[in-house]
Amino acid sequence: MLRIDLASNVPVYEQIANGLRAELVAGHFAPGDKLPTVRALAIDLGVHHNTVAEAYRALADEGWLELKRHRGATVRERRSAPNRSEGPEKFARPLRELLAKALAEGLSRKLLIRELINSARRLKEGGL
């Protein structure tokens, strides 16, 4: 299930791309599976078609999807991610910022550690 928050500071297209990426990384879709059409997903989420199309294009650029006119989006076989030069800092910085935001909003350190451990465990088992 894909969930977005229209009041979030994160742009909607990015939320859609993030949500779909999470599903793809978790292996909920096999190569060749079809995703909902841009129109159908836009109706379900109540957002403009272009917003969904932008999210699909972002995922296509990352190699997750194959987009064909009038045929929708198909999941691609993605053997390995393109080599990134930014290194682990690309992941670590936003994670630190997210943790800082959570602490500022009053979430306890204990809860955050538990969530991080759970995530690490799922990651180790091949899930997400």
């Binding site: 229209l6 997903l41 109706i43 379900d44």
Partner: protein, 366 residues
């Protein structure tokens, strides 16, 4: 039974059905929508909420009494069709009663959740029975058109266009391609719009919940509403097929049989009762906040109150959905901010008015 009494009884049945439905409507909507206003789910059970409902129902009783009195007076005044004004009065009076209740709820309005959900994967947009079932009514009308063309010489020179309250024809039209195939044409226009409506209900409608008990309830309601619409399509195809081939039928079958009206009534009452029983995520379902988000805002129908004009007409240009769930009432309504909605609403009206006016003006013989 005299035609006047039949009309009185039919109107009385319609007025009673409308009264019963409006009595229960406030409790058949989602718990966090009260008189088309987004409120806390528990609001309807507070003293204030109950008081508003009680005032609404008192207003309904008053409006129903006035409708009955008007119906009683009009049914004795010729022509009998004048009695239908009583139903229009009832509609207007009920709207006034609803609107007063809505104004009392408005100060308690809350902003709905900003969370939106979508199911990825399993396709849920399906027409019951698929395209084959949906093309059946069109096939029936096409078969009738072929039958009429094959028996053209047997069609009388004058065709009955209108029947009086005594069941006898009182207006005729001369035989021509336009007049013979007019019922088929009107049937096709009506069926096209209903098919568009059916497609919109299954493909251009945003679900409010995509999972859990409420999601299942919504899907069940949508499937049932689509099936009812499909049954109506078959009934309309049968009705217009009968009207089209009537000149070729034996004289005993030329008068419109009562079965047509009885079947229509049966469909309306059964369909209405089933949909009311199912609700639409309504009072039988417990309220549910989007889990895991910490949101305390009501879900409602995930649309803002300001987009609902008078709480009845949804107008949102930024929403790609053509149809949305009605806030006060059973079923769905169109998004008037979407161009396709205007096609659904206007084209059938204009087509039928244009066709019948043209034919009546050019070919009617009294």
């Amino acid at each position: 039974m005299s035609p006047t009494l039949v009309i009185r009884d039919v109107l009385l049945a319609l007025a009673t059905f409308s009264a019963v439905m409006h009595w229960f409507l406030p409790r058949l909507t989602r718990p966090d929508l009260y008189f088309a206003v987004t409120v806390a789910p528990e609001f309807r059970d507070t003293t204030e909420g109950r008081l508003i409902l009680s005032r609404y129902r008192r207003g309904l009783i008053g409006a129903s009494g006035l409708t009955l009195a008007l119906l009683g007076a009009l049914v004795l005044t010729p022509p009998p069709a004048l009695s239908t004004l009583a139903l229009l009065f009832q509609l207007g009076a009920y709207f006034a009663v609803y609107y007063r209740a809505r104004r009392l709820v408005l100060p308690h309005a809350l902003a709905p959740t900003t969370i939106r959900e979508a199911r990825i994967g399993t396709p849920t947009r399906k027409i019951p029975g698929g395209w084959m079932t949906m093309s059946g009514p069109f096939a029936l009308l096409c078969a009738c058109a072929a039958y009429l063309a094959a028996h053209w010489q047997q069609i009388p020179a004058l065709l009955a266009l209108h029947f009086g309250t005594d069941g006898q024809p009182d207006r005729w039209v001369a035989r021509s391609i336009g007049t013979v195939f007019l019922p088929i044409l009107i049937g096709v226009v009506i069926l096209s719009v209903l098919t568009l409506l059916l497609y919109a209900m299954t493909h251009w409608l945003r679900p409010i919940y995509v999972s859990g008990a409420q999601g299942e309830n919504e899907s069940r309601f949508r499937r049932t509403a689509s099936t009812v619409l499909l049954v109506i399509e078959y009934w309309i195809a049968a009705l217009f097929s009968y009207i089209a081939v009537r000149p070729l039928l034996p004289s005993s079958l030329e008068r419109p049989p009562r079965a047509i009206a009885m079947i229509a009534g049966l469909i309306a009452i059964t369909g209405g009762a089933v949909l009311m029983w199912l609700g639409q995520g309504g009072n039988r379902m417990r309220s549910q906040h989007p889990s895991g988000t910490g949101s305390v805002r009501p879900v409602g129908d995930r649309t803002e109150d300001r987009l609902w004009k008078l709480g009845v007409f949804y107008f949102n240009r930024n929403d790609p959905a053509v149809m949305v769930e009605r806030r006060f009432g059973i079923g769905y309504t169109v998004n008037f901010g979407h161009p396709v909605a205007w096609i659904i609403v206007l084209i059938p009206l204009l087509s039928v008015v244009a066709i019948t006016t043209t034919i009546a003006l050019r070919h009617t013989v009294r």
